[in-house]
């Protein structure tokens, strides 16, 4: 039978405010469609040739009327703009305490890794009421992370990190789609977001034994790829210590000048894959490129490790 909910669930903190704007737009659209639709029919019937109506002085132009039908859409448009812009900014900046989760898209699955170490495929478990920030990248073509119930969608690009945040407000299972067409099996690239009570989430995280966290895994990879050989107290090579780097401004040698960039995930990613593109001031460009040698998932773990060092003090 008719089991068609007109709108997807509202399950995130954004959903209801976006829907409010959406309903406003519907109201405007329906109002104008009806007014104009009626006008078309009335004019067509009333002024059909052969009908006997008063046609004296049919207007052929009117500055006054033009002004009115510029002004009304202008005002409505600007209301929508202001409203939309506020929401748009809101959706961009995650709150500081957001739970961080890494996402890697590839043809045709989602690989999801929690900071605490648990990884999953095509499923995302998160606690209700807690803001979640996804750091996403793709291993091949462009994908797009789309959860209709949260009203969020963000393209996932190869060679770059994009991020997305939301705050689930209702426990339940919600569909997850890949919204950007990505090849043959695009239509089956999806999964579920499972929003759990915080306690259940904690239990889920440690289910099946508490494996190493992402940062611990990263520390292992840091050794395995011989990063440590240079970056930890080497006597032969001069390389910067990575403690405290994350989130701080880093001096970059720029010809004769020095400029500062903030060491965010994109910067650290670039430092590993393209070390010569931004060389830390005072160091030789001797770090080899790890491009093609570290997978996207491992890269995220190494970055998690470097992030985990940020609490510690740098010995620069």
């Amino acid at each position: 039978m008719w089991n068609f909910p007109l709108f997807p669930d509202q399950a995130s903190s954004h959903a209801s405010s976006i829907d409010a704007l959406y309903f406003f737009e519907w109201a405007v659209a329906i109002f104008f469609s009806i007014v104009i639709g009626i006008a078309v029919v009335v004019l067509a019937v009333r002024y059909r040739s052969g009908s006997k109506v008063d046609r004296t002085n049919p207007p052929t132009h009117s500055q006054f009327m033009e002004a009115i039908w510029i002004a009304i859409p202008f005002v409505i448009g600007m209301v929508m703009f202001a409203w939309g812009a506020i929401l748009f900014y809101d959706m961009y900046d995650p709150p500081g305490d957001a739970l961080e989760v890494s996402v890697v898209g590839k043809q045709w699955m989602w690989y999801i890794q929690h900071a605490q170490g648990r990884a999953e495929i095509n499923e995302l478990h998160i606690p209700v009421g807690q803001a979640v920030k996804l750091t996403m990248t793709s291993q091949d073509v462009i994908h797009s992370f789309f959860v209709p119930a949260f009203r969020v969608k963000q393209d996932v690009l190869p060679g770059r990190y994009t991020s997305l945040w939301f705050q689930p407000t209702k426990p339940g299972r919600y569909h997850l789609f890949c919204a950007e067409y990505c090849g043959t099996n695009h239509s089956v690239m999806g999964g579920w977001v499972e929003v759990m009570e915080p306690a259940a989430y904690e239990r889920w995280l440690t289910e099946g034994g508490s494996g190493p966290s992402m940062a611990e895994e990263g520390a292992r990879l840091f050794l395995q790829h011989h990063c440590a050989g240079c970056h930890r107290d080497s006597v032969t090579v001069k390389a910067p210590r990575l403690e405290g780097v994350y989130g701080r401004p880093v001096p970059i040698q720029n010809g004769k000048d020095v400029s500062f960039v903030t060491a965010d995930v994109a910067y650290i990613r670039d430092s590993i894959l393209r070390p010569k593109s931004q060389v830390v001031a005072g160091y030789e460009p001797i770090m080899p490129s790890f491009e093609g040698q570290i997978s996207e998932t491992d890269l995220l773990k190494i970055i998690a490790y470097i992030k985990s060092l940020s609490g510690k003090e740098a010995v620069r």
Partner: protein
């Protein structure tokens, strides 16, 4: 402008006299040889007809691809009549459409409809045929260039058709063809050879349009008949003029993007591949390019391109509504300004296709603002069409019905555009069926209804015979009903979260509700009915071509110049170059016996105020 002006004293108009008679220009005889007359023709009318026929043929092809798409959406993986037996009889396929075939279908449907149907029909077909006739010229400024512009199309058509038959089949990266999916050779079967052919084909089609647009601009600037001041040009000519400018500025960007992507595919360049990219276990490329760069280049062209597909339609509809309302076009100058405004804004809104690509909100908000502003000139157009009908004496011919259909459907398309202009809402509905609904309300409800209107209206002039009005009306009403049946519900399922470009919605329990499945099936049934309704049009077109009643010079009692010459016009268009005396919309002028006054016919009394279309 209210200054009095006699038709003889108009600037640029000299009284027709023996020494300055503009009719005494050089008339070329029509080429006698069949090949130069009908095939390698340089006559703008023949070229227009060539574009018209090739566009209509591809319209049928594109329509059939669409019906196959709809079949799969309503009854996923169920054997399809005809195609299943023909293509998927092998046991491994079991009469089911493979998913990559579905992907080819939507890629090629959109490519064909946009680049081989709507754009060639509007600018190539009607632009070519109408511009010289409506401004009183004997031909385009560069007839040979015009011929070249048509002859860039057949290679494009051959390549795109041939691409269905190469190894791996046709392209399947979507009409937007985003890298890396589009250039990574092994990303999809279709990116083997099909994608390269797709790129080459579009390059040819684009060059055809660039050549055409140069010609249109020059012709309209240089070859207007004496007295045809800019603000006496019919809206169709204004629209074609501004469209040509759009094409001339936007197409080079698409051309470069296509060339870069071609090089990325065949020459190992890395314009659009990120560092170390590897797709489907292929060895990594060097990279260093940006996939987002392509999106910017593509939409910098393709947003203006959507206006290339609607402005000529708006121009022609304006002329048709004025003619059949027997009333001057309401607010002629605001209408011209609105077209120019849409075109100008059209260059600064492309980012609205990329709100979810991770752009900075400051940039997103800027694009949101410019997109909202496009609603203003669009509103001007709609209300002025209504103003034209107000107080008119409306004749409901098939052409007029289609034109009114255009107005009412364009409103829905424009209003759904506003939804998507607001970026937070767009982030939810982007890449869902809501977008597909929008596209079709503007491109089918808008452009295609306008093309039907224009064909019914100018058929007598083009072919010298009348189309059957009754069949035309039946075709209109059925098309109108089934069109809405097919596309309206797309907004609803889109809002619900139904993604676009998916071969099988039923893999998601979310889209398995009877509501969604029922709607999908309802839309498909309507789509098939819509498709079959077009057979009425095909019949009417072909039958009238062969046996329609002979058309008189001016069957609709219209004012513009093309109706002052024979139907069909002779090779040289006008016996003598006409002298234009006033604006094109002098219908039901008090003091004139008939309810129309062709642009070449003086006002009774000789003197008269220039009509004040403020």
């Amino acid at each position: 402008m209210h200054e009095p002006e006699s038709h003889e004293g108009a600037p640029g108009v000299t009284a027709p006299g023996p020494e300055s008679d503009p009719g005494h220009d050089h008339i070329h005889p029509a080429p006698g040889w069949f090949l130069t007359r009908y095939i390698f023709a340089s006559d703008h009318k023949v070229i227009g007809i060539q574009f018209l026929f090739s566009g209509l043929i591809f319209f049928l092809v594109g329509g059939m691809l669409a019906m196959a798409l709809r079949w799969q959406l309503a009854w996923p993986w169920k054997p399809m009549p005809i195609l299943s037996r023909l293509l998927w009889a092998e046991p491994s396929l079991g009469y089911q459409m493979p998913p990559e075939f579905y992907n080819k279908l939507f890629t090629m449907h959109a490519t064909i409809m946009i680049f081989f149907v709507i754009i060639p029909l509007l600018t190539g077909g009607f632009g070519n045929f109408l511009i010289p006739l409506m401004i009183g010229a004997r031909d385009m400024a560069f007839p040979k260039l015009n011929m070249l512009s048509y002859w860039f199309m057949p290679p494009a058509m051959v390549l795109i058709t041939y691409s269905f038959f190469v190894e791996g089949g046709s392209a399947e990266a979507g009409w937007t063809s985003y890298p890396p999916l589009a250039f990574a050779r092994w990303a999809t079967p279709g990116s083997l050879n099909g994608q390269t052919l797709w790129l080459l084909s579009l390059l040819f089609a684009g060059i055809s349009s660039i050549l055409g647009s140069i010609n249109y601009i020059t012709t309209i600037v240089m070859l207007r008949a004496p007295g045809m001041k800019l603000f006496r040009m019919p809206m169709t000519v204004w629209a074609m003029f501004i469209t040509a400018i759009l094409q001339a500025f936007a197409l080079p960007v698409l051309t470069s993007a296509l060339i870069m992507q071609t090089l990325d595919r065949v020459a190992g360049t890395n314009f659009f591949s990120p560092v170390g990219l590897t797709v489907a276990n292929a060895p990594p490329v060097v990279g260093g390019g940006g996939p987002i760069l392509y999106q910017h280049l593509f939409w910098f062209y393709s947003h203006p391109a959507v206006y290339v597909m609607i402005l000529p339609a708006m121009g022609m509809v304006s002329d048709i509504i004025a003619t059949f309302s027997r009333k001057p076009l309401f607010g002629y100058k605001p209408m011209v300004c609105a077209i120019a405004g849409i075109a100008g804004l059209g260059f600064i809104v492309w980012g609205h296709h990329m709100f979810q690509s991770g752009m900075n909100p400051a940039l997103g908000a800027t694009f949101m603002m410019s997109t909202m502003l496009i609603a203003l000139p669009s509103a001007i157009k709609v209300f002025n069409w209504l103003g034209t009908m107000w107080g008119g004496r409306i004749q409901f011919t098939a052409a007029m019905l289609n034109a009114v259909g255009f107005v009412s459907m364009f409103i829905i398309g424009g209003l759904s555009g506003i939804f998507m202009a607001a970026s937070p809402v767009d982030i939810h509905i982007h890449d869902t069926y809501f977008i597909v609904g929008h596209i079709h309300y503007v491109l089918f409800g808008g452009s295609t209804f306008a093309i039907f209107a224009a064909i019914h209206y100018w058929f007598p002039k083009i072919f010298g015979r009348m189309m059957n009005e009754r069949l035309g009306m039946i075709h209109f009403f059925l098309t109108f009903i089934f069109f809405n049946g097919t596309f309206y519900l797309m907004h609803i399922v889109g809002m619900h979260g139904h993604p676009r470009r998916i071969a099988d919605p039923t893999v998601y329990s979310y889209l398995q509700g009877a509501g969604v499945i029922g709607m999908n099936q309802f839309m498909t049934v309507n789509a098939f009915l819509l498709g079959f309704t077009q057979l009425i049009f095909v019949f009417n077109f072909l039958y009238s071509l062969a046996a329609g009643p002979k058309a008189s010079e001016n069957p609709w009692h219209a004012n513009t110049l093309e109706w002052t010459t024979s139907s069909p016009p002779a090779h040289y268009n006008f016996e003598r170059i006409p002298v234009v005396l006033h604006a094109p919309y002098e219908y039901s002028v008090p003091g004139v016996d008939e309810d129309f006054l062709p642009q070449t016919k003086p006002f009774p009394g000789g003197q008269r105020l220039e009509p004040a279309h403020s």
